[in-house]
Subunit: 308 residues, 3 copies
């Protein structure tokens, strides 16, 4: 990660940089005390121009567990940009008040712009429907922890695969690692964009299978990645009524899944995973939240070391 | 407190646990430096789904003075529950980001539910009109500090005794300690609920006297606990006009009170205690706010020690 | 600063106290590590009854870099005053939860009132259009750093000089130091108030020159202090159209300025300084933001030492 000062999108990281962040995250998970003072005296500015409790608290917790401190806001209305100041000026000044900046912004590209004026590392904590690289890192460290590695898996994605940066980003990144192939489960109108499939097939030879129901593929999956599917995304009421239950996970639906399959979800969930699944040892979505803190600790400390 | 992992209501604590929290709180008050590092590296999540500056800052200050750190929000609108996530999921995830959780929630029972899914101790910082156990502990440590003990007192409660968890909770808890008896001063329509009086009389032999004005009982009180009385709680304008001044404390009204009586109030006050009283050495309501920090420090460190 | 416990307005400080805060600020700028633990265990309450990201974060960052901690809010709606509590009661209680209080409040005089009840030092972080003493200190330390001293300068102020506490406060304070004189650039209707000019001329013999355009005086300035000029402040559209470009700084306008002139601005800017100026070595407004942290560190640590 020698030349990377900011993390705006997963493609800013080489495969070996990703692997090193995951290893470091696992080492922090195993030996948290070794890292409890590495950011002593450092300040992270946590600038959430759009609210996101989970992401914000995961970062805040990460920085504090490294011995660092956090300043920031969780709501654009209290920021100077409400006085007509440009984002560039806001970021430039914030970079004097802190040693590293995490930002979430409703506008695509805002973190990229920020990285061009900031004197300190910028981490993109989500920019509109665009990029959310630390969610991808969280997903990867979770696969690493529960499956031993991030290669050679059959990974099912279920739900709305058309929208949703989380899914696109994870598929793109997993495609860069050897032997991963994808089973895509969604209604026809919510399939993964053709352009993305084409690009990945061309670039990495990625293999996709597309189906409409979970049942027909459940027994083949090493990883099942669930996402929410919103009623208003369907083209018509009829399709919605016909298909809605196909995308809600129940004990019944996973009865023939592999014993070591893992069930992931970026959270928050609404109803797409029944609560009964929480007790199944294959469900790891809460542990996934937990792992997010460790990989963010790895990222923060790495970026700060390089910024010295 | 061996089996208590959470504090949802005062009844979660035995008498000896209450006494030990108060003693520890007094020891922290006397020797704050001995405790300034005991929570180093620990994170308290301070989740205020309903705003309350005073309670939140008292807890935040407590955690920081123990050497710990705080993350959190003071407004539900910035939390994930606004995206339709269940409280149980929110709490479960927050329990990965922190070592202890303080929460205030507008719905009765929310902290109890939280305690059923959390991996870390939950402290109820107030749930609707229901419970607010650390206010009760604050009241008790204040009586301890200024009266030497929490037994054998004649305690007057004045104002709206029908509503208001603070009063109910404190009366219930004081009833569990020897020799306390109560003088209840309120308009007839705002008297302590019959059910509560019946229960306490039956269970502890608690003694109550009920009157309508402060004047007739002032000289008998060891402790006077004032509360606000809202105009809209009266049944009719006539009663309101007739009685309103009976429940506003002035220098004149306390002229025949005992020299060592103490005047308490949970704050914020509106006009039920005249500002002139602030200079009377018997007024301890500001010191009561101060003591809240120390008993919360005792609680946090006790729960964290037990959670090890 | 022996008798000063609070900082409500610049006039609370003697010249030698101002000089010592600036020196200490410069020493912190040069040797930040010497100060990284001086506020260990101390809590600053940061009470922003009116939002101001920049000022709040500058203070928060200052306190954290001194090793201290911060509690607070950035929005009055989450404070107890929304329950009808008096500001005096709120401040009194907050002074038990913290070791020093910074407050911004929309009402003039609120910090003064606060200083009368607080048990800990109060720093005024801005009260309406009234006072903002740490902005003045920030401006002074910036002049000190870039010009070597805060005496004997020709300082131009440009924009709306009628409103705006920043300009009034800085002119008043600079008038107290030897040899400073002022060139005031503004439309006629937005000139510095006559009363202020009269007072300063009388008291310190301060010299003012008043012009309508920057061009006619640019080559005479040691310091150019830009401020925003709002369209609605003009008396008529015609004047606005005629004059608006006179108050927007461009490379062209500074072509004949002194090589060592410095360009300041309290930020946020809207359009009164073209972005092209950012690359000119004479522009120091971003560095001015940075210096604000150091002079606030000097102030916090000085007030805390005296409060011991």
């Amino acid at each position: 990660m020698n030349k990377v000062k900011h993390l705006i999108e997963p493609d800013d990281l080489t495969n070996s940089e990703i692997e090193s962040l995951i290893s470091k995250g696992m080492d922090i998970y195993d030996n948290p005390k070794n890292y409890s003072d590495v950011c002593k005296g450092k300040i992270m500015a946590s600038l959430f121009f759009e609210p996101s409790t989970r992401t914000k608290f995961s970062f805040d917790s990460a920085m504090i567990r490294l011995g660092g401190n956090v300043i920031g806001f969780s709501d654009a209305s209290t920021s100077s940009t409400s006085k007509g100041e440009s984002l560039a000026d806001t970021i430039k000044v914030m970079s004097f008040y802190s040693d590293i900046i995490v930002m979430r912004h409703p506008k695509e590209g805002a973190p990229k712009l920020a990285s061009m004026v900031s004197e300190v590392p910028i981490i993109n904590g989500g920019d509109g429907g665009h990029q959310h690289p630390t969610q991808t890192l969280t997903d990867l460290i979770t696969i690493k922890r529960f499956k031993g590695n991030i290669t050679n898996h059959t990974i099912g994605f279920c739900g709305d695969l058309k929208h949703g940066r989380t899914v696109h980003s994870l598929i793109k990144t997993l495609s860069r690692f050897e032997g991963n192939n994808f089973i895509l489960v969604s209604p026809k109108e919510l399939r993964l964009p053709e352009g993305l499939k084409y690009q990945l097939t061309k670039q990495y030879g990625t293999k996709f299978t597309e189906v409409e129901t979970l049942d027909e593929v459940m027994d083949k999956l090493d990883v099942l990645y669930m996402t929410r599917i919103q009623k208003e995304r369907f083209f018509n009421e009829e399709d919605y009524l016909r298909l809605k239950n196909s995308y809600i996970l129940t004990n019944d639906k996973i009865s023939n899944a592999k014993a070591n399959m893992i069930i992931m979800h970026p959270l928050p969930r609404v109803n797409e995973i029944s609560y009964e699944i929480d007790d199944d040892p294959r469900s790891v979505y809460f542990e996934q939240s937990r792992m997010g803190v460790f990989v963010r600790m790895a990222l923060i400390t790495t970026l700060l070391e390089e910024a010295k």
